[in-house]
């Protein structure tokens, strides 16, 4: 009886906290090596401000592409780690693996283990895109976590390789 009650309380407390976490948040929580990583966050509010500065009527084609891509994003989180990068990369992979019902692999490089992209889809729209990138030479791990409503056009533009670097 007591165990059941404790379990009920635990579940009840856990549900609201577990709900609504993106991969970056889960990774930062579960990785337990926050001091070795840096997480840059752009929230939906900041994203709106970014969209405001892009509202230029005389923009060129590249800027239009950028504006379209940003309009489809709600948030962006970039995690970087310049120590124990490989270990953290494996941890990120195993966390994705644990959540394989949520995330499906989209791409990996030819070696198959240093650059991986996963997406969470619903109604043909990508709700979350996670990229794990390991640069073994530099001992650098980069995780990019984008949330939003990334449609087919967004994915085409992104994968076209024609995105101009500012």
């Amino acid at each position: 009886m007591r165990r059941v009650l404790c379990l009920l309380c635990y579940i009840a407390c856990l549900i609201p906290s577990a709900w609504g976490q993106d991969f970056a948040t889960k990774f930062m929580e579960q990785c337990g090596e926050k001091d070795k990583m840096e997480c840059q966050t752009v929230s939906p509010k900041m994203m709106e401000k970014v969209m405001d500065i892009l509202a230029d009527p005389d923009k060129n084609e590249d800027e239009e592409v950028q504006e379209y891509l940003l309009s489809k994003l709600k948030s962006a989180r970039i995690i970087t780690a310049d120590r124990h990068a490989e270990k953290l990369f494996r941890k990120a992979e195993s966390l994705i693996e644990k959540n394989k019902n949520r995330f499906s692999p989209l791409a990996e490089d030819s070696a198959g283990d240093h650059n991986r992209i996963f997406v969470r889809r619903h109604d043909d729209v990508v709700r979350e895109l996670v990229m794990l990138q390991l640069s073994p030479g530099k001992d650098l791990l980069t995780i990019v976590d984008l949330t939003g409503e990334m449609d087919e056009k967004f994915m085409k533009l992104l994968s076209s390789g024609e995105l101009k670097d500012d």
């Binding site: 009650l5 309380c9 990229m131 994968s159």
Partner: protein, 171 residues
Amino acid sequence: MDYKYIEQLVERYWQCDTSLEEEAILKAFFSQANVPEHLMPYKSLFAGEKMLQEAKLDESFDAQVLERIQEDETVKAKRVSITRRLMPFYKAAASIAIILTLGNAAQSSFRPAEAVENDYNYENYKDSYDDPEMAYDQISDALQMVSQSLSEASKQDSLLREQVGNQPKGQ
């Protein structure tokens, strides 16, 4: 013998008209041994009181009472276990847990489908930048990285090309 007077007194007694003296007469009458049969039902009413007044406790009564008082009544202490003592708290905790669980379930079932899928809790996000220009640079860099990775991968992976709907250049 005429008992009309007594009968009248009984009648007046029921109507609450008798004086104390008349009630004393009735008590005296019903206390005697020979009471006519038709008045017998009232005997216990009037004579009973006198009998109760005359009743006395016998000498052993005090002794009996004292004996009962002095009897050692073993009062057994109830042992209440911690589980039992904490039972109200368990019940309260269970109630709260059930309410929270049902509340969450109701909340999620009433949420629109879009909200369910886009269920990120953005309230917890803390911006790393105050300047939108810097945020823009950061996002651009991130998009650039993802774009390069996707582009590289889609050149090699036909499945990915299908998923994102891209054809490699020159095809």
